[in-house]
């Protein structure tokens, strides 16, 4: 690698009670690159993302940000470092409307009051830019949204801030054709702006389209960390399902 | 137009005012609803005056609310049984401002502005309880447990003071445990007494219980330990429960405050006031806080033991049917209640 990683994790272990989910995971995110994190269902991808974001605390292991060791004790710390996350389980407040959810935690203010007018206009623009045209009103409660609409709100919520690293956990799972297109374009655009982007997806076509690097998790272990151009679709699928493919992958499975 | 309000009498005298009575609660004692209300209603109906009787259910705010609405309803004489002096005083203050005459019923409102006071003497009740226990215990040395009324009720404090003023003088008696029962709660009283009893290893010869309900709770535990009837227990209010326990020999005594008598006195005074007359008094009571002598109609409580249970029945304090139901028929007969 020529550039230094923006975010790096070394030797991460994470257990839930007796279940050991992550084993000595090393993971790096480079500026200006899209790193795809792939793996079978239950491989530990979301757990890794949540560990990075400070939702879970790792049992062992060290995190480095821009080369310096950092402690991340909660989502607040991660946000302060400029790490933004779109979670697989979305994490929206069903009792709030779209605007309120999109600006949650960083509401725009006008003196002591919330600046509802500006937030509302900006929310509307953002949704339009993500090709969502079926939302009747941005003042609709998110509980009444369709699956894809919810996912768009979650993406809009996390992606549109000045951040350095963006982690997207299966952001296009529920999206339609056009919306998926927009999100993939967005992912590429963010990387081109110099951000470090992590994309989790089960769709290999998408992965091969936008990713610069691919990191494969197999049963909580990193099976391979390779440049996209060096591998084929089949190889990656083998890494995902079996943990190894030819001389790539885990030594003994 | 409810059945028990008296304002349906179209022939009521136009010049007589309207009387309002606010009773305190339904839990500390049953007398308010079962004795006072009917006695007052009877007297008022006979006199043909308009009246309203309500119960504050132990809630001082509610009493103030009722007072407001009675004044709004145009009563000219208001009798209250205060839940405590300060809330009572504030009601009387409001009433006076609106030109309504007030009577303190059963409990004196210290610092209040009531025109009259009709009552039994509460300290006297405590003294009777103390004397009753003394009689039942006789000359023996005795460990005594005190089960007082609610810690938030000033009357309970007065009863207890009255009893102590008698029992503390007798050096044979030792106070081995004393607890106040929150809200006069009979259920809690059982546990409280059981624990006091356990604490002293059952070495108890007499129990001061502030009223018949608490006495019943004490007796429940004494029965469990085979001590019922052997350890005298005091009471108050001459309720069916208390009188039955006296007949059985489980309770030593109770104190009867004839509600009929007291209600009659109140009705007489209130009717006089409503008609614009003065009420007849038999003394005054000192209001230590308000520094004034309140014109009073004072009645004497009666100590009840097995020998004079009959008096309560005769006075209408309890009905014979209630008292002598089932197993108690024979005991009643033995006590000369027929």
């Amino acid at each position: 690698m020529t550039t230094n990683p923006l975010l790096e994790l070394r030797g991460i272990n994470k257990s839930f009670g007796a279940v050991h989910v992550l084993h000595d995971v090393d993971f790096a995110v480079y500026p200006g690159q899209v790193t795809a994190l792939v793996g079978d269902n239950g491989a530990g991808k979301s757990t890794l993302v949540k560990t990075i974001a400070g939702i879970y605390s790792a049992d062992t292991g060290q995190r480095y940000f821009e080369g310096k060791p950092v402690d991340i004790h909660g989502p607040r710390d991660a946000a302060d470092l400029g790490i933004e996350v779109v979670y697989q389980d979305l994490a929206l407040c069903d009792n709030l409307d779209i605007v309120e959810n999109m600006f949650l935690g960083r509401e725009l203010m006008k003196g002591p009051q919330l600046d509802e007018a500006t937030m509302e206009s900006r929310a509307r623009e953002t949704l339009a830019s993500l090709s969502v045209r079926t939302v009747k009103s941005v003042r609709q409660s998110v509980a009444s949204l369709s699956g894809g609409q919810r996912q768009t709100v979650a993406i809009a919520k996390s992606v549109l801030w000045n951040s350095k690293v963006v982690l997207l956990d299966e952001p296009t799972a529920a999206l339609g054709v056009a919306q998926t297109r927009q999100v993939l374009d967005l992912v590429r655009r963010l990387a081109d702006q110099g951000l470090g982007v992590v994309l989790i997806s089960h769709n290999m076509v998408d992965v091969f389209e936008v990713a610069d690097r691919i990191t494969t998790l197999y049963l909580g272990r990193v099976a391979a960390d390779v440049a996209t151009k060096d591998v084929t679709n089949t190889q990656v699928v083998e890494l995902i399902t079996a943990g190894r493919s030819g001389d790539l992958g885990l030594a003994s499975v | 137009g409810s059945s028990d309000s008296g304002n349906d009498g179209s022939d009521s005298k136009g010049d007589a005012g309207k009387i309002g009575v606010i009773l305190p609660d339904t839990k500390s004692s049953v007398r308010w609803e079962s004795a006072d209300r009917p006695a007052l209603e009877k007297a008022f109906k006979e006199a043909g005056v308009e009246y309203e009787i309500q119960n504050a259910e132990g809630d001082a705010d509610k009493m103030a609310t009722i007072a407001d609405s009675m004044i709004a309803d145009g009563v000219t004489v208001l009798a209250i049984v205060n839940l405590d002096s300060d809330s009572g005083a504030s009601i009387e203050e409001k009433a006076a401002q609106q030109g309504v005459k007030t009577i303190d019923y059963d409990r004196l409102t210290l610092g209040g502005s009531a025109d009259y006071y009709v009552s039994f003497d509460n300290t006297k009740v405590g003294e009777l309880q103390g004397q009753g226990l003394e009689q039942c215990l006789g000359d023996k040395d005795a460990n005594v447990i005190y089960l007082n009324g609610s810690p938030t009720d000033n009357n309970a404090t007065l009863f207890s003071e009255g009893a102590h003023s008698v029992l503390d003088k007798n050096t044979k008696y030792k106070n081995v445990g004393e607890q106040a029962v929150p809200d006069w709660d009979n259920e809690q009283a059982v546990t409280i007494f059981e624990q006091l009893y356990t604490k002293v290893d059952g070495d108890v010869q007499g129990v001061y219980a502030a009223n018949d309900g608490l006495a019943g709770s004490v007796i429940s535990i004494l029965q469990k330990n085979g001590q019922a009837g052997k350890v005298p227990v005091t009471g108050q209010d001459a309720t069916v429960e208390g009188l039955q326990n006296i007949l059985k020999g489980d309770q030593c005594m109770s104190v009867y405050k004839s509600a009929t008598q007291e209600a009659g006195a109140l009705a007489k005074a209130a009717i006089a006031l409503a008609k614009g007359d003065k009420a007849e008094t038999n003394g005054t009571t000192e209001d230590s806080e308000g520094k004034r002598e309140v014109p009073s109609i004072l009645l004497t409580p009666q100590s009840i033991t097995k020998d004079n249970v009959k008096d309560v029945v005769d006075d209408g304090g309890v009905s014979k049917d209630d008292l002598c139901a089932n197993d108690f028929a024979k005991l009643c007969a033995d006590a000369g209640i027929s």
Partner: protein, 407 residues
């Protein structure tokens, strides 16, 4: 596109009906329950709808409205504060003793009560948020412990008098007639100005907004209620010609001011937004970087200090603080008021006004029953029955909501 961007009154009415059908009922169901109560009691008692009794009702509702409002932020988080009533009484006792025993002026006493409330709230909040003990248990413990504290402060069987003319005046004095009118007009004008201004900005920037006609109807509605009530209360309602009673009771101003304050706090500030978020989905709020523990502690601080104000109002009305103040069923009634108003015990859903509307419902039951003069067992039964009646009017008018699947 936006269904709210209709313009004529007819369309607005149609849109309103649609919103109702869609489950967005606003304050309507609880208000409907209240209206039913008024009709019932008004027809059973001649006195119920007189100016004097309406004024009584206002003073009687003061303490419970404020207490229910105090609970709203706590309930919004899905927590409960069983100790609020007794904590309020402790606050009131502190204030009363400060005046009685130490001769301090009333405003110092009130500040003292508020500080005591805040400290208690911070304690409770810390136990809930930091130790993770369920709020039901923590506040049950405080409910008991504070009764002991109150008993100790006031003494067995005793009580502390509230003689200070200002504090006592909250519930027994009235605002001078002219001042009452000035305030009433000011409230209406201010409300009109603010909503119209907001509407203009929304239209100019092309945002979601209610139709102008609906806004005008709302303003008119407020004007009728505020000015009508003021007119009613500014008439002499005394039965005693030598002792005129007229004007708006001070307590109405206190409740009104708190309602405005709470509404602003909850719906217009970042803090309020975060309270709703934590109540709606605690994990989502945490992931959005909200300091959940701080929010949880803060709602108890707000609750307990506002409860102190409620305690002072109650003390002012009763003329004293006694060891049983704030105990008994006070808190159940206050929570019941908030729930009847429309607040959910599961968090995330509720408004400051719910406490006030529900509080008035509860106070109306006591007030109306008080006029009917029944035996006390009947009073218990009727109180329960009427409470159920008010709640079922509310529930039935909300029904479509769940029928339409919004849950």
């Amino acid at each position: 596109m936006d269904s709210r961007q209709t313009t004529t009154l007819g369309e607005a009415w149609q849109a309103y009906l649609n919103r109702l059908r869609g489950g967005d009922m606003g304050a309507l169901p609880a208000t409907l329950g209240l209206v039913v109560l008024f009709i019932v009691f008004g027809s059973l008692s001649d006195t119920f709808l007189t100016a004097l009794n309406i004024a009584n009702l206002i003073t009687q509702a003061g303490a419970i409205c404020v207490l229910a409002m105090a609970l709203i932020p706590v309930l919004l988080l899905g927590d409960i504060d069983l100790s609020a009533g007794v904590a309020g009484a402790v606050g009131a006792a502190v204030a009363a003793l400060a005046i009685d025993d130490h001769g301090l002026p009333w405003y110092v006493a009130v500040v003292g009560a508020l500080v005591v409330g805040m400290v208690l709230g911070a304690f409770i909040g810390a136990l809930v948020a930091k130790l993770g003990i369920p709020s039901f248990v923590v506040t049950l413990a405080f409910f008991l412990a504070l009764q002991g504290v109150l008993l100790k402060m006031i003494g067995q069987g005793g009580s502390v008098r509230v003689a200070d003319p200002v504090l006592r005046g909250i519930t027994i004095k009235n605002v001078p007639v002219t001042v009452g009118w000035i305030v009433a007009v000011a409230v209406v004008v201010l409300f009109a100005a603010l909503t119209l201004l907001r509407h203009r900005t929304q239209v100019q920037r092309g945002l979601a907004h209610q139709p102008l006609s609906l806004i005008l109807v709302k303003i008119a509605g407020l004007a009728v209620v505020v000015l009508g009530l003021t007119a009613l209360l500014n008439v002499d309602r005394s039965r005693n010609p030598n002792f005129p009673i007229q004007g708006v009771p001070y307590v109405l101003l206190v409740v009104g001011a708190l309602l405005v304050l709470f509404t602003f706090l909850l719906s217009r500030t970042r803090y309020g937004r975060h309270v709703y978020a934590v109540g709606g989905n605690r994990e989502a709020a945490r992931r959005a970087g909200i300091n959940v523990d701080r929010i949880r502690i803060s709602v108890f601080v707000i609750c307990t200090s506002t409860a102190a104000i409620s305690g002072i109002i109650a003390a002012s009305y009763a003329g004293k603080v006694s060891p049983s103040s704030g105990g008994g069923n006070t808190l159940l009634y206050a929570v019941g008021a908030a729930v009847i108003g429309g607040t959910s015990l599961f968090g995330g859903k509720g408004k400051a006004r719910d406490g006030v509307i529900g509080g008035v419902v509860i106070a109306t039951i006591a007030n109306g029953l008080g006029l009917l003069n029944q035996a006390s067992w009947i009073n218990y039964v009727v109180t329960g029955g009427v409470l159920l009646l008010a709640a079922s009017v509310d529930a039935l008018s909300r029904r479509r909501r769940s029928a339409s699947g919004v849950s």
